[in-house]
Structures are given as C-alpha cells and as structure tokens.
Symmetry: C2
Amino acid sequence: MANQIDSLTGQISALADGSSTPVSLAEHSLEQARHQSALNAFVSIEASIVMDQASAATERRKSGRPRSPIDGIPIAVKDNYLTKDYPTTACSDAAPIEPGGVDATIVANLRAAGAIIFAKTNMHEWAFGATNTTSNIGVTRNPHNLDHITGGSSGGSGAAVAAGIVSAALGSDTGGSVRIPSSACGTYGFKPSYGRASRHGVLPLSWSLDAPGPITTALDDIPRLLPYFFGADPKDQSTRSAEAFQAQPPVLRPRLVHLTGRGLERSDEVDATVRNALDSTRAQLCEAELPRISTYFAAWEAILHCEASAYHRRRLEKGAEGYSDVTRAHLEAGKRLTGVELLEAQKVRGQLVRALFDDLPPWDALALPTLPVAAPRHGEDWQKFGGRRVATQDAMTWFCWLGNLAGLPCISIPAGTSLSGLPIGLMLMGRPGRDEDLLAIARIIDNDIGGR
Amino acid sequence: MANQIDSLTGQISALADGSSTPVSLAEHSLEQARHQSALNAFVSIEASIVMDQASAATERRKSGRPRSPIDGIPIAVKDNYLTKDYPTTACSDAAPIEPGGVDATIVANLRAAGAIIFAKTNMHEWAFGATNTTSNIGVTRNPHNLDHITGGSSGGSGAAVAAGIVSAALGSDTGGSVRIPSSACGTYGFKPSYGRASRHGVLPLSWSLDAPGPITTALDDIPRLLPYFFGADPKDQSTRSAEAFQAQPPVLRPRLVHLTGRGLERSDEVDATVRNALDSTRAQLCEAELPRISTYFAAWEAILHCEASAYHRRRLEKGAEGYSDVTRAHLEAGKRLTGVELLEAQKVRGQLVRALFDDLPPWDALALPTLPVAAPRHGEDWQKFGGRRVATQDAMTWFCWLGNLAGLPCISIPAGTSLSGLPIGLMLMGRPGRDEDLLAIARIIDNDIGGR
C-alpha cells in the first residue's frame, strides 16, 4: 500500500486544472502496475494500447475538447467484460477466449466518454466463486498483505484500485463479487439494483442475479461512473430507463435496520467494528432478525447453479474441457436440479422480497458487515466465526447474496481495520431501484464514520 | 340445439326494458339445464342458490336500483374458480374440494355487480387436458351432437353457453381451454393478454401461461364482461392496471397474417372454411410461415408440465391419490424435467415473442383456425389431418398454445360449419396488452363473415 492515487474525483479536477494529463495518469498507472506485479491483478495489460488512448485523450484536452470529465482517466476492467482491444477469457481455459472487437455496453459508454480502457483484471474463473484463488493465471494477492486473498470474483479489480494502480475498475456481482473484494481490499464497491445497469457484453454467471458495478477509491467516484452503467439498453432486455426509477425526497436521517440472527453470524472483531461504525452515525438504528436465512440461501444457490449450468450447457456437452475441477463440479451439480426445484427457489425469492418489506421495521437501508471475517490467508480452507466453521468460499458470500436474490442496490464502504491491519467493510442495501437514495444514505454514513 | 337464448347483450336490454326479470332468466336457465342434462355440463347446480340470487336481483330492479347492467343475469363458472356458495373440485378426486366461502376475484366482481353465479361447470381434470373427457363426473357432450366432445378444459362452460342454458360462462385457458370448447361448440371465447385479468382464486394449471376468460353467445357480450376480469388485483401480482395498456388509434383495415406451414397443418374442411371466412373480410390479408413450431411447442409443454408439477408437488408427495392415471402421469413427467431444460424453454419463449414481431410481415392480428378439425367423436383417440396422425389431445391444443406461450390476447369466433354440421372456429391473436384492439378487429371480421 505504498502508492497513493488520487480518487477518480481528484483526477477529474487535476485534469480540468491541467495539473495532470491523460498521459501522466496513464504512465503512473502503468508504472504502478509493473511495480506491483506481485498482486497478479491483471490478465491483459499492454502499454501501447494504454498510451495510444492516453495520447488521443491528451490531444483532445489540449485542444479544449474533452469528451467528458473522465476523458483520459485509466479504468481497469474485469476480464468477463468484452473489450474491443483486449481479449476476454473469464480466467478460464474453457472460455471461448473472445478475441476482442466488441465492447460491452458499459465499456463502450466509458470509451465514448474518453476513459482509457486500461487493462483486464484477474477474476475467479467464470465468476463462479468468491475467493479469486481459482483462475487460470493464478491467485490474486491482497495489497494490504500479499499472504491474504482479495476475495472475488472481481479480485483483480479490487486489488488494482486498492493498490492505487487505477482510481476505478469495473466488476460484476452475482453474490457479492464487487462488494467482497471491496471489503477485503478496503475500497468502495457498488452493486446496482437489478435492471438498472446493462449486462450486455458481460459474460454471465447467472442472468437473474448478475449486476455489473464499479470499484473505486472514494464514495464520490461512484455517482460519477453510474451514468455509464445505467439506462435502458436495447441489448439487455432486463434494463429499464431511469424514468422508471423515480427519485424520492432525500432522506435526512436514514432509518437503518442492522440484520442479525441465525445465519448472519460474524467474527467478534467484524461485529465490533461494524457496530462501532453504525453507532457513530446520525442514522436511526435498530436491529432485527431475518428468519429463514438458510432457506433463502438455498434458493439463491439453486438459481445460480441452474442458470450457470444452462449458460454453460453447450460447452459442457462438448466435454467440459478446460474448466477447473471445482468449477466443473459446480456446473455438473447445477444440471441435476429439477425444474420443480428451480420454480420452488424462484418462489422463495419472492418470499424474501416480501419478508424484507413486510416483516422488518421500516427501513431506508439494511446494514450488515460485508464479510463475516477480514480477508483470509491464502491456503485457509475454513473460517471460524460466531460459533461456526464455514468453508472460506461460503464465508465470502455469507451476507452478500441476499442483495442479489432480492435485486437490491448494495454498497460496501470501509468501516475500520482488523487487528492484523486488514480492512473491514460495512454493507448497506437500499430499496429496489432507488440506487441514488442508497448512495445518499451511504454518503451520510461514510461522512459520519470518517471514511474509514 | 333446440333452445335459443338471448345473448348477454340481449338479456341486458330485456332486463332494462322490463321484458325479462332476473327470476324469469334464472327459471329459464334452470329449466334448460334440467332439460339438457345429457350434456353433463354441470358439477354443482342448486336451484335454491340460483333463485335466491335471482329474487334479490329482481327486487333490486323493481326498486329501480340495479347494481349494474348485468344485475340478475345468470353466469356459469368453471369448477376451478373458487365460489362462495358452491364447492370447487377441479373435477378431480385429488382436489382439496374447496368447500366454498371464498370467491375468486372475477367471481367476486361479477357478484358485486349483481350477476347470478349460476352453477359450476364440468372441466377436464385440473384443466390438465383439452378434451373434457377426463373428469370425475364423466365426459361432457357437445350440444351440436352428443356423440362428439366439447373440447376443453372449459368444456362444460362451452356446452352450457352453446346449448342456450346461459348466455355467458367463465373459463380458463393455459393452452386454449377457453377457445377450444368455443370453437368446438360454436361460441365466442376470449383469452386476455397475460397480466390483464386476475387469476386470484382460480386453481392454477401453469401460472405463467394461465389466463381466465369468458365464453359467450355473441361477440358484443365480451367487452361487457371484461371490466370484471381486468385491472390490477393486489392478490394476483401478475396483473397490471389498465393504464399500463394504452389504447392505440383504432385500426380501420386490419392487417391480418394467416400463419401456415410445418406444424400448423389443418384438415381440408377447416382450411377451406377459415380461408373462405378470411377472404370475405375487408382485412388486408397475407399468409406467412412461422418456422420452429415444434421447438416452441416443446417449450410450452415443458413450462406447463414443470409449473403444474410444482403446484401439485405437496399433493404428489402425499401419495398422488385421487388423480386419474393420465393426469398423474403428466404430473410425474413434469417432475423429471431439469431446471436447465426449464430455463431453456423460458429462453425459447422469448425467442417466439421476438419471432412473432421481427420475422413476420407487420400485423394487427394473427389468424389461424382455432382447431385443425371439427369436434372429434367420443372415443376417437387419433385425428388425421394435413398428412399427420395426431393424438386427439394434441389436436385440440394444436394452434392455441401459441397465444399462451407468447402472452397474446386471443379470440375464437364461429367461422362456419363442417359437412357433418359441427362448428368451425377462426382464431385471431392480437398484440400483447392490446385486448381492446383485438376485440375491435374481431368485430370487423365477425361482421364481414356474418357472425357464422
């Protein structure tokens, strides 16, 4: 963590007042990427691709015609987003290895705004896991301590931002994959509501749960990026235009419900950090149990496994070559679920949404730790917390999947540091479609707890 | 077919001008029901229940305070709609036999308007079939010829209307169950768009395909009944308010596309009748093939079987007692489908919707025969038409399932008579949510072809 980088917001100012140029930002990012190659954060990174974009942006700015405030800012991209210049591998030998030529909608939007598509980041194979330790280019390492994992599946994006290589990176989130590395690496990570952000060109894991989202060094960076994520995309039929999501009057003293109880255990250290953070805010805070967590979790898992196996069906039929053993086992398990079980899971999904609204005290946001533990060490297969022994993989998604199953907007913000110096994140979940309201609430909380 | 009954519209006038009373209508209907008991159209019918409602309605009309224009008109109800006064059996010994006490939303709406809930009609067991020959009270017989079937699953409703016992009856339609008996018995049958009509209190067959709909003696009767079907029902989350379905400018010369080709074969007699009817209209007519019918059909069947098995899961686990062998076999088959197969079917469903809009010439309505043959004889297991030999069950749903899979509004109108004197129906399918437009087009066609 030697390197300090300006936030995206800071870079925007520096470019605007001429104290930086796109070329200087790009050179700094490339130098840091080389310097911190031990993180193994990148799948594809080519200086010539980066510098060509930086030179063009510098020219535009010199001639006083930047395309947007982010024209010339390097942004790293998870390797499941299609990109024109870089190939796309999903960090799997079983991937088709998309050769480039097409941009995902979000990448195309950013590129049209002049952002430098900097590099493709390491990820958990096919996004089917939350540790970033299963990848055909090897594990990703946590900038706070290389012996620890980043979490995943957007681990390379989390590491690149936390290490100050770039100010922002793109991730995708099916059960926490944006928020988990954000919490583990000490960045901000935002998962939009289902239907607000385009997934076109992002290789899917589970189409009814997937959401793309940004990882940034500062909270204010997120609303600067969301216009490139949001809006009705004719290429992603799940998306709705912004008008469908009407802004509500601002919430001055948000009502937070801290979820606890069976299935929502966490380590003492994480619990104390999160409670301490929440207690220091002006929010109206109360605590409530959410029953049936294990039922809801089983539904999330069934939907994820089934949809992932459906997406990979052809590739599996052809022999399933190139998948890691663990990913192949997941995909084979998904094939065995019956349609009736899937429908039952979809029904339970509806029950969760109703329970969140009908069975809890009124809330503007739900609060949880993002992770039940600080970032685990590499090689640790199990985590112990709250009287439980949980596989590290399951510990990573422990809380996060709830937001995907219910389609809520979610954010992870840094809330403190563990005894061993690793970041601890606080998760806030907002009402469906009300992403702007959640960000406004997160800003209040982030200010009050002092931005870590 | 000795008895002639006024249409619902005629009954409305007769009640308004005093030439009929609710009591006289109810007495006529009861007398006809007794007289035509060989049809086996009714599961539950009780004179005291009918006459109590008729007397109350007559009182209201006498005192000049009818609740609505249909106050006092007898309407028959398929035995999968919950009704306060009559039990509900779905014509199965495996049904819970709902003892009454609750009205389905549509029944409650009609009752609040003063309609006489006349009787519960015979149906194909659990609506899981389209012949009305599988029922725990025995087969339903076609009023045009008792040796022939009515089609189903709303066969009792079709028979009761065609026989002039009532002017209107309620059905439900998952793959044609309103339109099939309408075509086979020579009535009008309307299946609304998915999401327009409440299914609350209607025992489901397949919740993503089911739609309730009316069967009537005249086309003008349908718009008089739809207000009791339509609107956002908080008890059926699939329903949307009428505002979501904005009316379009009226279509003066509708563009009809007559669908033909592989998988859409029909008997020469049916083909000639439907072409003759279509040629006699002012519509702009063209013919187009719709490829991949067998793929779409398999998707409809997979979704139906899976959703039905999910609904019946608990009952099946308890031993599957009381189901007929054929219904139990269907439900067991649905349990064997995998989640991946179901997801694939749901994907194909989306492909059908796109194909209907993107791959056909522009259309205001799609035209098909309702059935590929006139009503089969009882005991005929197979139908031969268009070079095919098809199980009678599959011949009944031959065209109709398309409208359910795509969620379109559909109507069957009488278009002619077979050599053997049995009705032949024409089916029109409209654009999703534009039920009023479809009715306006149907009126043009119906006028032009002379209402049979």
